[in-house]
Symmetry: C2
Subunit: 264 residues, 2 copies
Amino acid sequence: MHREPSGNRVQSVDRALALLEALAEVGNAAGLVELSERVDLDASTAHRLLQTLQARGFVRQEEGTRRYSLGLRAFEVGNAVDFVNELRHASRPVLETLAERSQETTNMVIRSGWKASIIEYWPGQHFLRVQAEVGRVMPLHATASGKVLLAACAPDEIEAFLRQGRLAALTPRTVTSPDEIRQDQQWVRAHGYAVDDEEFETGVRCVAAPVRNRDGRVVAAVSISGPTVRMQSGELNQYIQMVRRAGADISRNLGYEEAPAPVF
Amino acid sequence: MHREPSGNRVQSVDRALALLEALAEVGNAAGLVELSERVDLDASTAHRLLQTLQARGFVRQEEGTRRYSLGLRAFEVGNAVDFVNELRHASRPVLETLAERSQETTNMVIRSGWKASIIEYWPGQHFLRVQAEVGRVMPLHATASGKVLLAACAPDEIEAFLRQGRLAALTPRTVTSPDEIRQDQQWVRAHGYAVDDEEFETGVRCVAAPVRNRDGRVVAAVSISGPTVRMQSGELNQYIQMVRRAGADISRNLGYEEAPAPVF
DNA sequence: GGTGCTTTTCCGTCTATCGGAAACTAGTTT
DNA sequence: AAACTAGTTTCCGATAGACGGAAAAGCACC
C-alpha cells in the first residue's frame, strides 16, 4: 500500500496549498491551465480547488481575463504570523538606531525556504542609498544576511542547499562554486558575521550578524547595506562592530541571555 | 438537494482555510481542542488538516507545548500578494515625500474585511510621533483612513458593516452611533477626505484621502497622523491639501487619469 | 461563422476523507 | 506510585465527497 514518509495528509488540502504556493511563485496573475500544469493536476480539479480558495478570499479572479492571483485574505493571514511579528517588534528600534548611527539602510532578514526574506528595514539618510522593501527575497549565497542564515543551518542542510539550490551569479563577484561557499561558511561561523562585497548588486556592500531567540537558535540576521564608496575598510570595520552589537541587542529583546545573569 | 449559493467547493480545503483564519484571529499559538472547537470540527479531523498545513509550512507546532501557530510559508505567500505589492510600490516614494513635508508619520492603508490595515508607512521626523507598523489593523469607523475606505463601499455594504461591525468606543471622542457615522460618511464623500480627531487614540489627529486604481475604484487610503498639538487648524488645512495631493499622485502611479490628457 | 484555446459544468466511479474510539503523553491529584 | 484528567495522536472501517474524463460554454482571432 506504500505509505512513504508522507504521514497522513489530506490530499485536496495539500493540492490547494500547492496552488497557493504556485501563485506566490509566479508573482502575477496566472491562467487555470498554467496553474494546473504547474502543480500537475487536471484542470477541472484545479478549478474546483481555486473556486474554494476564492470563496474564502485567498485567491481572486480578475473580472475580464479570468486569471487567478492571490487575494487579500492571504495577505491578512500572512501578516498575522506571530513569529514574524515578534521579530519585527524586537528589531524595529534597534534597526532605527543602527540606521541613524551608520546613515545606511538597515535590514532584518529571515530565511524562508532557500531564500532570505526582508521582514523589516529602516532606510538610510543619504540621497544615494540602498532601497529595501518588506517581503523582498534574495539568494542565501549572495547576500551577507543570507550567508549568516545559511551558516545557522545544519551541515547536511547546507549540503542539500548546495545541491538543489540554484546558485546564480548575480554579479561578476558572486561566489557560486560549492567549494568556495563551504569555505566562506567556515569563515562566517568562525567570525560570527558575514560580508557581501558586491556579490548581490554591483556597487553595494553589506555586513550582517546573527540574531538569536531565547533558545539560542539563530532565527534571523540584521544587516547594514550601503554603496561601496561609503563602505571602505575604515567604515566597514565600524559597521561590523555596530551590526554585531545590534544583533546582540535584538537577541536580548527576544529573551536570549548571552551570559546568564548571576542569581542575585 | 439544496445547493445554496455555495457553488461547488471542496470541503476539506474549506475547513483547512477556516483553520488558517482561526489561527490568524487568535494571534498567538492555540491548542488543538481550542482550534477544532473554533471551526466546529472533530479534533481528529482538525488534527489531520493541521498536519497537512504543517507539512507545507503554513502552520508550525511548538516543540514542547504542541500548540499550533501560523508558519513562515503563510507569511511568504501573504507577501507575494501582487495587488498589495503594487500599492506598496506606487505609494512608497509619495509617502516619503509626504512625511518629509509634513514631518509626520504617513500611511498607506487598505480595507481587509471590516478592518483597515496598514500596508506601508513612513515615519515622521519628530521625537514625539505616531508609530505605525505594517500589518497593524484598525477599526474603520474610528480612523481617518478607515472612514475613507468605508466611504468607498456601496451603501448596502456600509449598512451591513453598521449592523454586524462592533463599533467600539476607543476614546471619549469615538463616534459609535450608526446615525452619526452615516452623517460622517456623507461628509467624507462630499469633501473627498476624512479627519480623525482623537477618535482612535487620545492626542492623535489624522487626515486621509482616497487612492484610486486605473478603473477609478478606491482601493486604498493615504493618511498623515500626528499629535494633536502639531495638528491645529492651521497645519491641518495644509495637511489636508497635502494628503489629497498625495492620494492623487499615488492614483496616477497606479494608472488613474483624473482628467484625460489632451490628445495633441 | 468557423477554428482553436481556455474555462466551467456535469456526472458516475471509487478513492480519499471522515469521525468514533482507542492509545498515548504529560501534568496533577489522591 | 498509582489513579485521574486533559489534551494530542493513531487506527480503521463506512461512505460521503472528491476525482477526472468528457462535454459544454466562453472568448478571441481569423
